[in-house]
Amino acid sequence: MGFYKFLLSRVISFVLVVFIGITTVFFVPRFMPSDPVEAMIGKMTANQAFMEPEAIITLRETLNESFGLEGSIWDQYVGFVKRVIVTQDFGPSLASYPNPVNELIAKALPWTMGLLLVSTIIAWLIGNVVGLLAGFLKDKSYSKAMEAVSIMIYPIPYYILALVLIMLLSYIYPIFPLSATFQGEGFSWEHIKSVVYNSILPALSMILVGTGWWVISMKTLSSGIAEEDYVQFARLKGLSERKIMTKYVLPNAALPQVTMLALQIGTIFNGALITEILFGYPGIGTLIYTGILQADYNLIMGTITLSIIAVAMATFIVDFLYPFIDPRVRYK
């Protein structure tokens, strides 16, 4: 019975959290001083010599309809919630009309996912290895040095590191490009090469910061576990230090780290926002930024809603799976 009660309360809070998030996202852009439809009509009439007043009125109506800006704010809100839940369609983009928002997101998503998945996983792997060594061999001078380096790098914001890397590797030693430009298309060798080349610098800035965090948390975990009784027992049994580290300490310290990794992957959308903007990387971050600069309601709401649902989903799944992974935790 405890389990179903737990599941039900998790589901209810998931729904509520997503609902409140979506509501906030809906109302905030409505307070924008600029009216996107008027701005677009202005752009059109500026390009054409003359437009009939009647034509402008019909144009305004069509635009209002296709952007879901018709009726009272309440009607718009109900329509928005319905669209998000029933059709998952965010309508056309206002700035690059008539491309649908879903298509723009679908185009940008693989870039962000690729960049962040790769850099998160690399940081996780390096950070855990270094952290395990630093925690288990905490009296060795090199493990102290590794910890000191990660403590110095971790607190620095990732966009500051990005700026330092740009300074070092794009100006002083111009190895990498200043802003992303891609050659070729599809699965050609040329294209893949240019994608990797352009992604190294933004990825590096996030790997550096990420690694520091994983080192610190893994070090804390593993040095705590290394003092537990069963580790002492293994030592008395005469097992090698290496075996104790990999078979006794690692599995227990890895549990929370896996959970944290899952949570991090859920928050991937916001992860690289400023980095993407600084490097001109064509991902979700740059998309949100252009959407906001151009007062593109549909685009803003589409991207932020997606990110809210992803984070809420990740929290939900982690909460739910945790007792399966770690037997010490019970549903309550």
Binding site: S13, L16, V17, V18, I20, G21, T24, V25, V28, P29, F31, M32, P33, I151, M152, Y154, P155, I156, P157, Y159, I160, L163, V164, I166, M167, Y171, T267, F269, N270, L273, I274, I277, L278, I288, Y289, I292, L293, I300, T303, I304, S307, I308, V311, A312, T315
Partner: protein, 274 residues
């Protein structure tokens, strides 16, 4: 000073350098450090201008001092109010339980789930780079109270099971008094660490926004300094003192705050005899 560890010492030392730079050094400067054209433009660091001057004709050193001041003011205001609101709501929720707890929990969870950075960028663009520093601080408070609230709720949950709390309830004390007098002393150490951490987060968010031109562009903060330097191609034209000084300052301030936070945690653990 007995339990002061190396981290705490180094952190406090670094931090005090920046506090002096931000809050005492500006007194020695007559005039407005952000005013354009006060000096010759693009002067390299020399005796008169130890950090050189910017392409806008400001002295980089005085501008940096003023920027550090403003960044710290934002950080401290946000950290104070976010911690205060978070601690009170979190303790209240954990202690009272029931419907109040449910409402506060759902609110904190929703605010944690909403990605704050895109919304901050959105609000920044709403105000078109002309927001006042207090407006930015206000928005940052809204996004930073849920973390302490969530943590302290769980602390209050376990604390409220203790005997002395029941004694306090049965002796008829009111809730606010119990929270402030009986429960708060137990979480005070954690709140200090959280306060320092929130300063760090707030300075980071503001400068992040400012770097892309979404904060108070006309005010001097570390982030807007980077923004203007970027706008004037400081890197391309090798005016490294202009872009370099705020970048290095932010990095060092963050390291200092982090050292103080973790050092303080070690310090209070030692004082408790662990």
């Amino acid at each position: 000073m007995k339990h002061w560890n190396f981290r705490l010492k180094l952190g406090v030392f670094l931090l005090s350098i920046f506090i002096i730079l931000g809050f005492i050094v500006p007194f020695f400067y007559q005039g407005n450090p952000i005013e354009w054209g006060t000096y010759l433009k693009n002067v390299k660091p020399n005796k008169e201008h130890i950090f050189g001057t910017t392409s806008l004709g400001q002295d980089t050193f005085w501008l940096l001092a003023k920027s550090i001041q403003n960044s710290f003011i934002i950080g401290i205001i946000v950290a104070f109010f976010a911690t205060l609101i978070g601690v009170l709501l979190g303790l209240w929720a954990g202690f009272k339980g029931g419907i109040i707890d449910r409402i506060i929990t759902v609110m904190t969870d929703s605010f944690i789930v909403i990605p704050s950075l895109p919304i901050l960028i959105l609000l920044g663009s709403l105000m078109q780079g002309k927001a006042s520093l207090f407006m930015i601080a206000f928005v940052l408070i809204i996004f930073n109270w849920p973390w302490p609230a969530r943590q302290l709720r769980s602390m209050a949950l376990s604390l409220s099971e203790r005997d002395f709390i029941s004694t306090a309830i049965f002796s008829g004390q009111n809730t606010l008094k119990i929270i402030v007098k009986e429960i708060f002393p137990f979480v005070a150490g954690w709140s200090v660490a959280n306060f320092v951490n929130t300063i760090l987060v707030a300075i980071g968010s503001e400068s992040g926004l400012a770097v892309i031109g979404m904060s108070s562009n006309e005010k001097a903060t570390l982030g807007t300094m980077i923004y203007w330097a970027n706008q004037h191609q400081a890197m391309l034209s090798e005016r490294w003192w202009w872009i370099g000084s705020p970048v290095v300052a932010i990095a060092l301030i963050f390291i200092a705050l982090f050292l103080v936070m973790t050092g303080y945690q070690q310090y209070s653990a030692l004082r408790r005899g662990k």
